[in-house]
Amino acid sequence: MLRSLLSDDLPRSRWLSLALLAIVIGLAVAPFAFPGAKSLNVAAKICVFIVLAASFDLLLGYTGIVSFAHTMFFGIGAYGIAIALTRMGVKGPGGGWEAIAIGVAAALVVAVALAALIGLFSLRVRTIFFAMITLAVASAFAILASQLSDLTGGEDGLNYRLPAVLRPSFSLSDGTLFGASLNGRLLDYYLVYAVSLVLVLGLLRIVNSPFGSVLMAIRENPFRAEAIGYRTVVYRTLASCIAAAVAALAGALLALWSSQASPDTTLSFDIMVDILLMVVIGGMGTIYGAALGAVLLVFAQNYLQDLLAVLNKAMAGVPVLANLFHPDRWLLWLGVAFILCVYFFPTGIVGRLRQKR
Amino acid sequence: MPDALLSLRGVKTNIGRYHILHGVEFDVPEGGLTMLLGRNGAGKTTTLRTIMGLWRAAAGEIRFDGRDITGLATPDIARLGIAYVPESMAIFGDLTVQENLILAARSGPFDPKRLDWIFSRFEALKRFWTLPAGHLSGGQKQMLAVARAIIEPRRLLLIDEPTKGLAPAIIANMIEAFRELKDGEATLLVVEQNFFFARALGDSVAVMDDGKVAHCGGMAAFAADTALQQHLLGLGMGEHQ
């Protein structure tokens, strides 16, 4: 049962199994174990970013191509929901769900079409070309999104109402369970959690399918794969379309959770950097690594700052050193970790854990 | 063999996962021209590239003029006096004929006498002196590639299929040029398919088969032994004409 859920791709390491179990269970019980709006928010973000990072791993780890446009698809998903809910509202007969359906469908169509276009255009050349073109397209898209303010709300983004059952005011029952109030927020969280889980398991299925094996064969030796008869451009473009679709769904989940979408939270290059760090530090080409990386990074964003603040205080007198440990410089240290990972641990945390067994 | 300018002992070369050379052994005597023959895929080009340091030998030893050059970087090998003409010719198409030769003449301005000699053999180079080399015809590119190797005196020339796709008149000129080189200053190691060319010029011969040298010896004896040719090359060299 478990074996088939994981598509026969078991963690193959006791510590990794424990860590994954901790993540799955921890996120499942998070609303009750760590009550409070902020921690629920962190938990939901982790879910969304696990999906986003895992879908990026399909490209980076399994297909061996670097796309800098992954946040673009993430943003398309978020804006799909945001625009639909803003325009159609939640007053209709479907209570907003029809808007969500339309938003998700439209986002998927746009994301897949765009991914196919970019892929067919640039994947036939070389990795570096694809990376550069995706970077250019993504930055143009981000600017476009902030320019078309009639549609997207510009720099401020969009704020909208979620369907009634997902709002805090919707109550399942009076009273609380382990300190958590049983309201629409809770439902919303479990919606995010469940969809995320399904998407990650779906990605596992894809990478362990024959399609996934072809991708890896292409990654190892594109010329050989082409010689055997696989159209590498087609396979890579397909992979990039699937990754785009999943990223758009992750964006939709974020929009359903946070009831707002803005360039900063969905399209910025900072998020792209975060995803890169998650996948590389967690371990490329494993999907599980994306999950570990996402948890690690979201935690680091929230808690590495506190640690740095302590160090910063300790060095308050020394001018540059104190700045090095400024709480806002957490990305500096993760960046260094990232570079070291690429050099010395290309398989990331998961690879290390698997070596240990 | 004390008078060997170049000697290979047990040289193995892998390209990626593929083992191409399985212990190549032969000597190139100082002075004269050695032909490196063999079927397609026998490892001739890989052998030249390994001598030049463009592939790294995984095992074995290459000695040039008594010195171990196995681990040296390509530029250092070249600076010992070895010139290389690859099968692809690798002329710089964006540069003019003149500029191609300027780069090949490492030690400075051209020696006018030598340049005249090259022009006398390869007249087209003079005619297209200031033309980007990319616009030359295939035969002219081959002339330029050879000219680049001999614009300054070098002790050893490694030449990969110099006559491939050339017109007979140009081949005759090429033969003359090589003859003058081997009778003068240089030692040549030439990969060749053209038997007429090989027999006309070769002093000694090394025949490769499946990543090894299967036969070494004098050219005259090899040219006479049709059974051996049949065995090593698949057909008598006479039939090549």
Binding site: L334 | P75, A83, L103, P132
Partner: protein
């Protein structure tokens, strides 16, 4: 059997075609100068990147860091020389700007040397790692800039002599843009002369075409590459300094913003080609300014469109570099 000049003709073609679209001759001149100035600044920043790619097949995604560092170093020097900057004398202004720009180039060049050693060298020939590691280098460099110069943006005022515009009838041409055009053309001329008239230049061009053969002729291409990398970084620093003066603000994100333009330019030009990079930069600068005037909302999209059009015409860019 002549050189392929078609892409060069695109530049005057675009300029002429824009006149009827823009309508007024005065705005057209202003926009054209603005476009050339912007294009040439991007060219300065992009030239080194395209050469290092051509020579060693290395694409440095961290190139933006040199641009940013150049901008910050120049800003610091100019702020320190505040009184000369604000003086109403071209000589004093230049006495502040020239050392500022030189400092920017030196620091960026040194940084480039270190970057090549530490970040780039271990990942030769491995494209995926190259992209990842150099991106990592960019992240770290951006953070280090914040450590050294603080997270706030620096406001920079152009000196007296470079403010305002030359007026020719009803045509206004910003003085600083003229300077940018002059500097850009000087850099291009210097690069073109070096590449066409010196032995080092010939070696670089030969190396871009076939590095293996250059080595077989007895030249150490690695040294050549380090040299080009350092010069390219220094030029990025120069471009960054000029860009900072142009925008009159300097932020740590400056590298990330400009690098997108730089990438578009070198893709359009054909990876590895300096001439293509020059034409591409002018095209990008001009179209962005014309379209920014005609249809401001799609200005940045116009670059993508331009890139798509060029790639449809020539899939490898304007001047594809023959590769081994």
């Amino acid at each position: 059997m002549k050189r392929d000049l078609l892409p060069w003709l695109l530049v005057p073609l675009v300029i002429v075609a824009a006149l009827p679209l823009v309508g007024s001759a005065a705005s057209w001149v202003t926009l054209t100068v603005a476009g050339l100035a912007m294009g040439l600044m991007v060219f300065i920043m992009a030239s080194g990147l395209t050469l290092t790619f051509g020579l060693m097949d290395v694409l440095n995604f961290g190139h933006g860091a040199f641009i940013a560092v150049g901008a910050f170093v120049a800003a610091s020097v100019m702020l320190a020389m505040g009184s000369w900057m604000s003086a109403d004398s071209l000589a004093l202004n230049l006495a502040a700007i020239v050392p500022a720009i030189l400092a920017a180039m030196v620091v960026s060049g040194v940084l480039g040397f270190a970057f090549e050693r530490v970040i780039v060298r271990p990942v030769y020939g491995q494209h995926l790692k190259q992209i990842l590691v150099t991106t990592g280098g960019l992240i770290v460099a951006e953070q280090l800039i914040k450590v050294v110069w603080g997270p706030e943006q620096i406001t920079l005022t152009r000196p007296e002599a470079l403010r305002g515009a030359f007026l020719l009838g009803d045509i206004a041409i910003e003085k600083y843009r003229v300077l940018a055009v002059v500097v850009g053309l000087v850099v291009f001329a210097a690069l073109a002369l070096t590449l066409n008239r010196t032995r080092i230049g010939l070696l670089i061009r030969a190396g871009v075409e076939n590095g293996e053969m250059v080595e077989s002729l007895g030249y150490r291409i690695r040294r050549l590459f380090v040299g080009v990398f350092v010069v390219g970084s220094a030029l990025a620093g120069l471009g960054g300094a000029m860009w900072g003066l142009y925008q009159e603000t300097v932020t740590a994100g400056i590298g990330g913003q400009v690098i997108v333009l730089v990438f578009i330019v070198i893709i359009i030009g054909g990876l590895g080609s300096v001439g293509g990079c020059f034409v591409g930069a002018l095209l990008v600068g001009l179209t962005q300014n014309y379209i920014g005037f005609l249809e401001p909302k799609v200005a940045l999209g116009s670059n993508i469109l331009l890139m798509a059009l060029v790639l449809m015409w020539r899939p490898q860019g304007l001047y594809p570099v023959a590769r081994r």
